[in-house]
């Protein structure tokens, strides 16, 4: 009886494991977590905005107080980020919107290079911040 139960559990485990690893909506642990604009609006503690778009777009309509850190100009821009950022302060990275990918890329790099743990990507980009209640 016990052997049959064990066999059944073994057989049932395979599809469960396959679903866990191959499911299309399985979370990617390497991804930086996203945050909704409305959530950021409700934060009471200080945080730092990082604009991942090209410098021209940042100058045109960046969020006030944000630091420009485009990957195209990383080596020159990272010093300004380090001057503005205090260890332990959460960082929110934004780009133009939709699935631009740039903010994710900048956030991953900051997490890896500086070991920033409280780092987020703004869902929907800069447009969502302007529209958020």
């Amino acid at each position: 009886m016990l052997r049959q139960v064990a066999l059944l559990m073994f057989l049932a485990a395979w599809p469960a494991l396959a679903a866990a690893f191959l499911h299309p909506s399985r979370p990617d642990p390497a991804r930086v977590p996203t945050v909704e604009a409305s959530t950021v609006r409700a934060w009471k503690t200080p945080f730092l905005w990082v604009d991942a778009r090209p410098r021209g777009e940042f100058l045109r309509n960046g969020i006030p107080g944000a630091i420009s850190l485009p990957e195209d100009d990383w080596e020159r821009s990272i010093d300004a980020f380090l001057d503005a950022w205090d260890a332990g302060t959460p960082v929110v990275v934004y780009c133009g919107g939709g699935d631009c990918g740039t903010s994710e890329s900048v956030a991953r790099r900051l997490r890896k290079e500086a070991g920033i743990t409280q780092i987020y990507v703004l869902k929907g980009g800069v447009g969502s911040w302007r529209k958020a209640p």
Binding site: P24, E71, W74, D86, G101, S105, R108, K112, G115
Partner: protein, 213 residues
């Protein structure tokens, strides 16, 4: 990446005229590569000419252009996209949005997913101390990822108030660099440069930024 596929699927079904062979390309860049290039092939499968009116890339690092703009029914074409790597590392997702006339056509989104291979990995490139905190050494672990060994031969600090000590764990494979300010009483902006022995003639270097603030 899934987003690329979904978008390509949605766009592919909505866009009846330009049919793209592979709207998402997976690419691999080797250490030292300055750029990667992808050629996206398409065919005008509709009954009317299609004009490419605008190409918008998701990053200033990516350019894309077709050989010409107007394609007759049944005609095939190519769009060449170039992604300049710069100092980027890891996986990079770049998109190219192609607008066509008639304007009723949904723009096409092409994807370039590039894996930038690193031959040496540093677990930190930025180390920080707050003013007044104990000037404890920060450890930077260096691992050689490629099969052939690379030796780190030097760790040099740009500032006399910042020390950098190189320790070999396994020759050609693994090192630890200890970075330490003499004190944290005043601000400091320094760099530590790690020099390798590869490639011979113009050895690769790796920079670590150190700040007391």
């Amino acid at each position: 990446m899934r987003i690329f596929f979904l978008l390509a699927l949605i766009v592919g079904s909505a866009q009846a005229q330009l049919v793209w062979e592979k709207p998402v390309r997976n690419l691999r860049a080797q250490p030292g590569d300055e750029k990667v290039e992808a050629v996206f092939r398409f065919r005008n499968a509709g009954a009317f000419p299609v004009k490419i009116t605008q190409v918008v890339t998701s990053c200033g690092c990516t350019t894309a252009r077709a050989e010409k703009n107007l394609f007759a029914p049944g005609e095939s074409g190519e769009m060449t996209a170039v992604f300049k790597i710069g100092s980027r590392t890891g996986r990079q997702n770049k998109t190219i949005m192609v607008h066509t006339d008639p304007q009723s056509n949904t723009p096409i989104i092409l994807g370039m997913v590039t894996e930038i291979v690193e031959n040496v990995e540093l677990d930190r490139r930025i180390v920080l101390w707050s003013r007044g905190e104990q000037p404890v050494a920060r450890e930077i672990h260096v691992k050689v990822l490629q099969a052939d060994p690379i030796r780190i031969v030097r760790a040099e600090s740009s500032d006399p108030r910042l020390s950098a000590t190189l320790r070999e764990i396994t020759s050609g494979r693994e090192y630890v660099v200890l970075v330490k300010p003499a004190d944290t009483a005043s601000p400091l902006r320094g760099e530590v440069v790690l020099t390798s022995d590869s490639p011979a003639g113009s050895p690769q270097t790796f920079m670590v930024r150190a700040r007391v603030k």
